[in-house]
Subunit: 421 residues, 2 copies
């Protein structure tokens, strides 16, 4: 463990969440407090900003605006989806990163993202160590998908889960109003892991949620699906279904690709884009004749900071803060992770550090034993797992009853004078 | 004005809103307080419930559950979309309604809905008066569409507008994160009137909203649209567009129908359903090559009670209460309407009564002078109009951080003994 002193760079990567900026807030606060950290720099659009030397000062922002990061969804520093080569095969990008790190005497690097970002983080950490440049690299987890390995859960999931559960409850009420009956399909994010779609079961737990839930952890059978839905439609007149965007048949073909018929054009000759919800809605309509509707929660589920979970928000701050404190204390090559414990029957979350290489590129899925026998719902184990994560209402900052988001100045870091380079 | 005594029936009709049950709550409270009203009955699924003699007691519900109607979206009594014939051409339904009214000595009828429902209300009122059956009929307005004539605005609109504005702000933030650029199209309800879509401008007013807004009040030109979007995409890299589901070309053809190519089938041979947002997204993708996304706010915008406006909620209660008080005082054939005044520069809403026949079947649209010259945005007059309507946060009732909706017993009204019939 080296007692490093120098600047830090904080970057964000991958899809945003409702609380990803809370982690940045935690990291900035801890960095400003740290005696080892001389300057707090933000990377514009993650690692792309480092490669382009596109950085800005985070230590000269107003305290009040920084605090509003807790109220601001999306990735305030800018994000990217840039895949880094392995440094052992192609070190071009890493040489450039080293150059920028040296230029600003960057000794701490924090990367806030999902499994791809932890892969980036791990590679940078490995490269810096290989070339003997002292820089402590720590990953700050985030993902609405909740699919990072080892950690009990990820910052961002609890808020997305709460949005999904609340919205499903409201949509459930809406679909019950007419005497004429209806079938509604809600499409929820999660290409490989069903954590988000499973969160719709929280709504059902309170008596106002989907009747059927399909996760990508098990193969999807269209005939079985139509029969599940038809049966319930006959019995209840109204049916609400939640499906993960990632459901696939036994051959691994995504059901969403069933609609990708390149010859379907509209009146303009444009190829039609059709979502999974629309595909399933039309399949059901054909078989049942019912009034059907497909709803895609789309970006709404990952940016709805107005329904953030206080538990999630606090844990996101904690993750950012712990990353910086660990790096300042000389630790590198790790990611902040969560461990759950029950103290007097109450949920408790402990942060710990795990090696980046143990999480990079892995995916954690919903355990098969948490999926019901009919493969169209989840068990109470899932409810027990997810319910604590959505608890608590953060204080929202409003202006004329609309959210007041942070307005950062993002003053660019000017090029250093030649002689210092 | 007759000093009537007897039972009342309350019914809901048309599409639900986030606060429609608040009007029912106001009506029930006033009915329970009234000395003229002997029994408070709810019609299951609006006028269909009356025709089927499917009624339940509302005066034996627990007070606490009734209060939770303020926290419950959708039409708790059940809704319908039943079109009544003109009583002068076909009085079958009216005879049946009279029979049910006589059976339970119903002397007050309250119908909570939009312009179709006010038409139903007007016809019932006219028929009862024609046959000499004393029954005071009052309409309680509701509609997220805000398209009822004469009234300054409608209960339900403020909350939907607030949901749309908040969501657009969050989506705006989300669409800004990547360095690679994107174009996002948000489809908002409103077949003929653009009030809801215009509400997205409230987000832009706070610096985080759509760059372009298209309302159904003016003809939509696809070439102009593509050119508007392409230009902004070149200049800003990210573009957010809000469109009303009801936009149509100069021949009156809905743009949403451009995609209704019956020959487009998916792999199952199902006809593809494609929303307007998807149609526009594919048109833009073809012309710009940009990353595009279509988002449909769908039912979410009309049931999001978690983002209700306190102003809207209070006014919804007021409308229900005033309807009952007016009927009990001997008034009939009217609808509750709102008038706005400014007292010391502050928004103030006064309720008044207007004849049902002056609103039935009419539609109020966004004034053309509130639409900008380029027909792709609204003026500050709209902001001044809409901003007061979204103000205030109602206290939400939660259970484990999820909404606690009303659970009414809805005890059915049993058939009366033969001799009383």
């Amino acid at each position: 463990m080296l007692d490093l002193h120098g600047a830090c760079i904080i970057g964000q990567s991958g899809g945003p969440t409702a609380v990803i900026n809370a982690s940045i807030y935690g990291a900035i606060c801890a960095a400003l407090e740290s005696e080892n950290i001389t300057k707090v720099l933000g990377a514009s659009h993650g690692i792309v900003g480092v490669l382009k030397d596109d950085l800005y000062y985070l230590n000269i922002e107003e305290e009040e605006e920084l605090r509003l990061l807790l109220n601001t969804p999306s990735s305030e520093l800018g994000s990217c989806r840039y895949k880094m080569a392995d440094p052992d095969t192609d070190d071009t990008d890493y040489k450039r990163i080293l150059e920028v790190f040296q230029k600003y005497d960057v000794r701490f690097f924090f990367y806030n993202g999902g499994n791809d970002s932890m892969d980036t983080c791990e590679k940078i950490s490995r490269y810096m160590s290989k070339v003997g440049y002292d820089c402590n690299v720590i990953g700050i987890p985030k993902t609405i998908d909740n699919d990072l390995a080892i950690t009990d859960h990820c910052p961002g999931y609890g808020s997305a889960a709460k949005y999904i559960a609340t919205t499903c409850m409201e949509v459930f009420k809406d679909t019950q109003v007419y005497d004429t009956g209806s079938i509604t399909v809600i499409e929820i994010m999660g290409r490989h892991a069903g954590w988000l779609t499973a969160a719709s079961a929280l709504a059902g737990y309170y008596g106002a949620g989907p009747d059927l839930i399909y996760l990508p952890e098990v193969d999807f059978d269209m005939d079985k699906f139509i029969s599940d839905v038809s049966e319930l439609y006959k019995a209840n007149n109204n049916v609400l279904v939640a499906v993960s965007e990632g459901i696939h048949d036994k051959n691994g073909v995504f059901i969403s690709e069933y609609g990708a018929n390149k010859s379907s054009k509209d009146a303009f000759g444009h190829t039609q884009l059709g979502g999974l919800a629309a595909i399933l809605a039309s399949a059901i309509k054909e078989k049942t004749g019912a009034k059907v509707r497909g709803i895609e929660l789309s970006l709404l589920q990952r940016c709805a900071s107005h329904l953030a979970s206080k538990t999630d928000l606090d844990e996101a701050v904690l993750a950012g803060r712990m990353a910086v404190e660990a790096a300042a204390a000389g630790i590198t090559g790790q990611m902040v992770a969560f461990e759950r414990s029950n103290i007097d029957g109450k949920y408790h979350c402990n942060a710990k550090l795990i090696p980046l290489k143990s999480v990079a590129n892995l995916e954690k899925k919903v355990p098969l034993e948490w999926i019901n026998e009919s493969k169209n719902g989840v068990t109470s184990d899932f409810i027990d797992y997810a319910l604590p994560l959505i608890q608590g209402e953060p204080k929202r900052v409003l202006e004329n009853s609309l959210p007041r988001f942070a307005r950062l100045k993002k003053r660019p870091v000017p090029p250093l004078p030649k002689e210092i380079k």
